[in-house]
């Protein structure tokens, strides 16, 4: 009997709140390995929140997330996260090389020295993103596109199996955009799974082979050609489900006893 490999991502009934209002309500999602998934939806739909909830940065009120069949913190060692540019402290005293090397810490071991091999691997990752000439520059002294490429180089250095990326195309030039798309497709072809928060509908169809339509709840998930339809997009972008949001809000405010007292 063949034992099924655990799926890279399994989300069940996930509810995440922010300031007593639900941002995600009852999300159910299963992702197959080797998918390049675009997460799309209107502003405030919870796209970034979904990624953050998977990483454990935001706490979920209900439901669970399993990464490769494991819901504990250990599972996150197989996940590479590329954050939104605005959430990084660009004044932090690190260079581009420092950032990429940080991605190798998991492989180096916490207390071992950084070997020449690690350094050369980090250089290769920077090279792949055309950032090697800037290796010793402090990250605040880089342009927007260059900053994005440093973080992608770090993601490469991590050699993760599941990548979560939060708006990697935001505010980058055309050359960087093409570089990122090529990188994503390369990683996908290597069998990695990628979940990418994306804001631009016009390019979503071309960049991703699967789409997750999100607006407080998961409107639809599937292959791009099946899901990128007028009806489903209308449901996703057609305005806030105020009733769902209000009722969800009330449920969060009531805290526990929506269940029986003993």
């Amino acid at each position: 009997m063949r034992v099924a490999l655990p799926k890279p991502l399994e989300i069940h009934d996930l509810t995440v709140a922010y300031q007593q209002k639900p941002v995600l309500y009852g999300i159910d999602l299963e992702v197959e390995p080797g998918s390049l998934v675009g997460i799309i939806g209107p502003n405030g739909a919870g796209k970034s929140t979904l990624i953050k909830a998977i990483m454990g940065i935001m706490k979920s009120v209900d439901g669970y997330v399993k990464v490769f069949g494991d819901s504990s913190r250990k599972a996150l060692t197989r996940v590479g996260y590329v954050p939104q540019r605005e959430s990084v402290d660009w004044d932090f005293p690190v260079t581009a090389m420092d950032v990429v090397l940080m991605g190798r810490f998991g492989h180096i071991g916490w207390f071992k020295r950084i070997s020449k091999r690690d350094r050369s691997f980090a250089s290769e990752c920077l090279e792949q993103m055309n950032m090697l000439p800037y290796a010793n520059r402090q990250i605040g002294n880089l342009s927007g596109g260059q900053q994005q490429r440093v973080f992608l180089a770090r993601a490469l250095a991590q050699q993760s199996d599941l990548y979560l990326m939060d708006e990697p195309f935001e505010g980058v030039d055309a050359i960087t955009e093409k570089a990122i798309v090529d990188l994503l497709k390369n990683l996908r072809n290597q069998g990695k799974t990628l979940m990418v928060v994306h804001h631009d509908l016009s390019t979503a169809k071309d960049y991703f082979d699967h789409l997750a339509l999100l607006n407080l709840r998961l409107v639809a998930y599937g292959k791009t050609e099946d899901v990128f339809t007028h009806d489903l997009l209308q449901k996703t972008y057609g305005g806030k489900l105020t009733v769902l949001s209000e009722v969800g809000s009330r449920k969060l405010n009531e805290k526990q006893p929506t269940q029986e007292a003993l």
Partner: protein, 317 residues
């Protein structure tokens, strides 16, 4: 000019003076080094105000430990301070999450209440103790040489205060070196820390415990409020000089020597408290770093802008 040189060298004229002053300088150097090393991470994690809160909040713990054990030996005082510091941190967190209070109000409310409690406890027992509340505010590093002398194998080897501070200083240096990667990653990018499997919360608590240790060891010398100066001044000054964290950490050593020596000289010539003079010396060094430092100094930036602008004008023409 000669008078100035004379005034400068006057405190160092006799042998007893030199030994006396060296002890104070050494103490001051260890205090600033420990505070500076911890302060680098406090500043880079944007925890400066939390550092302020914790250094005030440990007071009731210190006072209680003192009242129970009737001495300022570092062991029980550190335990008391850690408990109070952790209590302070936990209260801030609880108030922030479980009540409508926002973070800054939670911090302000908690640490001032803890501090007030400490002062009240101290005042209630003022007759029984010889601790003056003002001592907590700016310490008395000048009394270092009066600390009981220690002898190892029959040889005079410094005094108790210096040894205590030395152990703390060494602990701080070792902790920073051993846990450097953890501190670096959790300060820069918590999500990467999670990806690497680092225990983010434990590292935060570890840093707070180290902070409490440094505050406890330093408050007798520089008082609780100036501990903050010693924590913030080194990293913000060296940030204008270097652009990598290891260099900033290493810069704490020469800075601490400067603070100590210059502070002592200033204190002798102007009759200021030594701890406050050390802080003033720190500010004196901070100003040129801030203005002229190669890494983001105010005037260097505007010069860069001017040269960029003029080269743009040139190319436009």
């Amino acid at each position: 000019m000669l008078d100035f040189a004379e005034a400068l060298l006057d405190p160092w004229s006799t042998r007893e003076q030199v030994i006396w002053n060296l002890q104070i300088v050494f103490m001051g150097m260890m205090v600033s080094l420990s505070c500076g090393l911890v302060g680098c991470f406090v500043v880079v994690r944007r925890m400066a105000l939390l550092g302020d809160a914790v250094s005030h909040g440990v007071l009731p713990g210190i006072v209680t430990a003192y009242l129970i054990t009737d001495s300022l030996s570092i062991g029980p005082v550190w335990i008391g301070a850690c408990l109070a510091g952790l209590g302070c941190g936990a209260s801030i967190e609880w108030l922030r999450t479980k009540t409508p209070l926002r973070e800054d109000a939670a911090m302000g409310l908690t640490f001032t209440s803890f501090f007030a409690l400490g002062i009240v406890l101290l005042s209630l027992e003022a007759g029984a103790t010889h601790l003056d509340p003002a001592c907590f505010l700016y310490g008395e590093i000048g009394l270092t040489p009066l600390s009981p002398k220690l002898e190892l194998w029959g040889l005079p080897s410094g005094n108790q205060a210096l040894w205590n501070m030395g152990v703390v200083c060494l602990t701080t240096m070792i902790s920073v070196i051993v846990f450097y990667r953890f501190l670096l990653v959790t300060s820069f990018d918590c999500s990467l820390a999670r990806s690497l499997g680092m225990p983010v919360i434990w590292i935060q608590y570890g840093l707070m415990l180290l902070l409490a240790l440094v505050v406890v060891a330093s408050f007798e010398s520089v008082g609780v409020i100036l501990v903050l100066a010693m924590m913030i001044l080194p990293p913000v000054s060296s940030a204008f000089l270097f652009h990598r964290l290891p260099s900033i950490l290493m810069c704490c050593l020469p800075l601490s020597i400067f603070y100590s020596v210059a502070g002592l000289q200033l204190a002798y010539s102007m009759n200021f408290p030594i701890s406050a003079s050390m802080a003033l010396a720190g500010i004196v060094i901070f100003l040129p770093c801030c203005l002229l430092g190669p890494n983001g100094g105010v005037l260097t930036n505007s010069k860069k802008l001017k040269t960029r602008k003029s080269s743009r004008d040139l190319s436009a023409n």
